[in-house]
Symmetry: C2
Subunit: 384 residues, 2 copies
């Protein structure tokens, strides 16, 4: 039984993964909306667009031509946020109480950014693809992760057993200099996506980024304080018992509107067993993970009968780390979708959220019920 | 001299106020933009709109009628995120190792949310108003803050000396139950503003929100480690000496593109002397603060010749707190504006930013130069 009172009163909830709180105001969706409306997204993209720099055979900004690829295709972003080659830099620590070294700290970051298409078809989103169609994407993520893994990682011994053939479009293997790989997708113009051909990005950096760094610290602390148990393993166990926030599950993964969700229909896909990174997956689990992604994205599109925008991202073990860091990592994938009331009205995380604390208008339990009811065939296939 | 190399290489910068890092990729604005364009905002609002629920004399959603106010006007939001009256709630701590009390934590939050208009005129933004016109806004903020201050606060003794007459539209004084007051503005549809009549919001809560809480912890730590000096006092001193990130200053305040800015043209207004809250201001300082707000908002509008959207917010001493907490607080105001390249292309803080780490495309030093060059008359007054 959910704590019914939380459907009616304003309250804060705690996020143990990031050690932070958010404000929940369940009654607040009653207010009228006179603000910005998102443009309705026409579902009329062609299968191939001669001007798209992601379609097979087309030229790209930097002059390269895409191969006639058949499944997925990855290339180094022509406008990468980080680069493999640049001068080293570290702001100088001077005297102990030197203002400049305390208040103006900086450090150089090297890395490589890839763009990875989900399929050659310009109009095919993850929601349109079957789990089987999505499998090559999961396999490509696994190969890119393996290609960048530090030789010193305890995970390295798993690579020979992978049995995934390397595609012609696999990225070249760079030096052993990277600490973390962030795989993420921005879907839809509302989430800053600048090309509708379905794709994700993979940014690999020499430094540990803030969010996975915070989560790893919290997971490490939890394990130390709870007899070696994993925070997310305990959380999955608790949610499976309570059944209040579970949207969908199969043998290997569970889709939850987390207790601490910030975005209206935020979900998290969590592995049921302790999986540290993509390299720990069995062949069966790769397909089960693809199925979970399919379930989430199809339900999202069904919710407001539109191409539902979101940002998603995978958190897993760092490419380089101590045995303890690798073992404390626990594979999961976040989905942050902005829509709140309809295909055209989103939740703005702005003034109060940026200056004070994230605030949400419906409870995660209410969002769960809505998403549970969005099962079944993709709405656009039913229409035709 | 700025560290010139940082104009060319990707690097991380440290934010000592929040103890976090962000990624800076100075070369990245070169990429072409095919994504979402913001709607151009027509500057054709009337002085009075009979359908606006903020204009004088008009009816509001809940049935009240606005008075014929002449300067500012505040009222309790008809759709508040927090309320004064609701049942108490605290999730139960059970056994020490009880999963539920560790992983599903919640606590009730009471509070009151005000809307505060800047003037009776429907079309007059802060950028259109003079410092003198903005002064009543600063005075109203001061009165609302004073009205909600805990009687036990060391700042309470300043109230009788205030000498600000209470307007007819002042909010009723609630009980001594509030911990923090967040004053903030969402300006423009791009920042979730749902009514163009210029206004801000004031959310007062029984709990300390995340962001000011983090900053207070960092400022407290800094003072303890640096002979009682204030983090922001030291930062102002350093920036005044280096002159690389200063946009504007007067005797009492300085406008800086902070070293750790996330948003493309983010600025911070910092008090030059140690001011803990609005109650510490002298009469002269209130006008000087109004002037600083005027300078920021006019330069913003001049930058791309548009109604420049942003969220802004004031951080100051909590309404209720220990003597140490009050004395460690240091008054400042943040401005987070999303536009990056033009009036219609904003920076999206999405996939990588949400999943891994905030990322910016131009350096704060470059943004400073641009904003320095936006002085002078408001562009729309020049045109007419
Ligand atoms: O209260 P408003 O202006 O209608 O709402 C706006 O500001 C709030 C506080 O930042 C946000 O929670 C809302 O998402 C936003 O649309
Ligand atoms: O690289 P893209 O897709 O052009 O850019 C998009 O994703 C990036 C990573 O989240 C963001 O930094 C950009 O603001 C956004 O527009």
């Amino acid at each position: 039984m959910p704590e019914k009172i939380l459907d009616d009163i304003s309250h804060r909830r705690y996020n143990p993964l990031t050690d932070s709180w958010l404000l929940v105001s369940p009654h607040r969706t009653k207010r009228p909306w006179q603000g910005q409306q998102e443009a309705a997204v026409a579902n009329t993209l062609p299968e191939y667009d001669p001007k798209c720099y992601l379609c097979p055979g087309n030229p790209r900004a930097a002059g390269d031509t895409n191969p006639q690829y058949e499944k997925t295709f990855a290339f180094v972003n022509d406008y990468s946020a980080v680069k493999e080659q640049q001068p080293d830099y570290e702001s100088q620590g001077k005297a102990d109480d030197d203002l400049e070294s305390t208040l103006l700290r900086a450090t150089g970051v090297k890395g490589v950014c890839y763009v990875l298409t989900f399929s050659p078809t310009h109009c095919l989103t993850l929601a349109d693809m079957s789990g089987k169609d999505i499998l090559p994407v999961v396999e490509h993520w696994t190969r890119i992760y393996a290609n960048h893994l530090s030789a010193s990682s305890p995970l390295a011994e798993l690579i020979p057993k992978l049995n995934l053939s390397l595609g012609h479009d696999d990225a070249p293997v760079p030096k052993d200099q990277y600490r973390y790989m962030q795989i993420f997708e921005n879907k839809g113009a509302a989430m800053g996506c600048s090309n509708p051909h379905p794709h994700c990005q993979v940014w690999t950096t020499s430094t540990m980024p803030e969010e996975p760094g915070k989560e790893l610290a919290q997971m490490t602390k939890y394990r130390a304080e709870h007899d070696g148990r994993h925070l997310l393993a305990d959380y999955v166990k608790l949610e499976l018992a309570k059944e209040e926030r579970i949207v969908w599950q199969n043998d290997a993964f569970v889709v939850i509107c987390p207790w601490w969700a910030i975005w209206p229909f935020e979900v998290i896909i969590i592995a049921k067993r302790h999986i540290r990174s993509l390299l720990d997956f069995t062949d069966a689990e790769r397909l089960q993970f693809a199925d979970a992604i399919q379930e989430v994205t199809r339900r999202y599109d069904n919710l407001f009968e539109c191409n539902f925008p979101y940002s998603s991202g995978i958190h897993q073990a760092p490419l380089k780390g101590t045995q303890e860091e690798i073992d404390n990592s626990y594979f999961h994938m976040h989905f942050y979708p902005p829509l709140l009331r309809s295909a055209s009205v989103k939740k703005f995380l702005v003034g109060y959220e940026l200056m004070a604390e994230p605030q949400r208008d419906i409870t995660p339990e209410q969002a769960t019920l809505r998403l549970r009811n969005c099962a079944g065939e993709l709405y656009r296939n039913k229409l035709s």
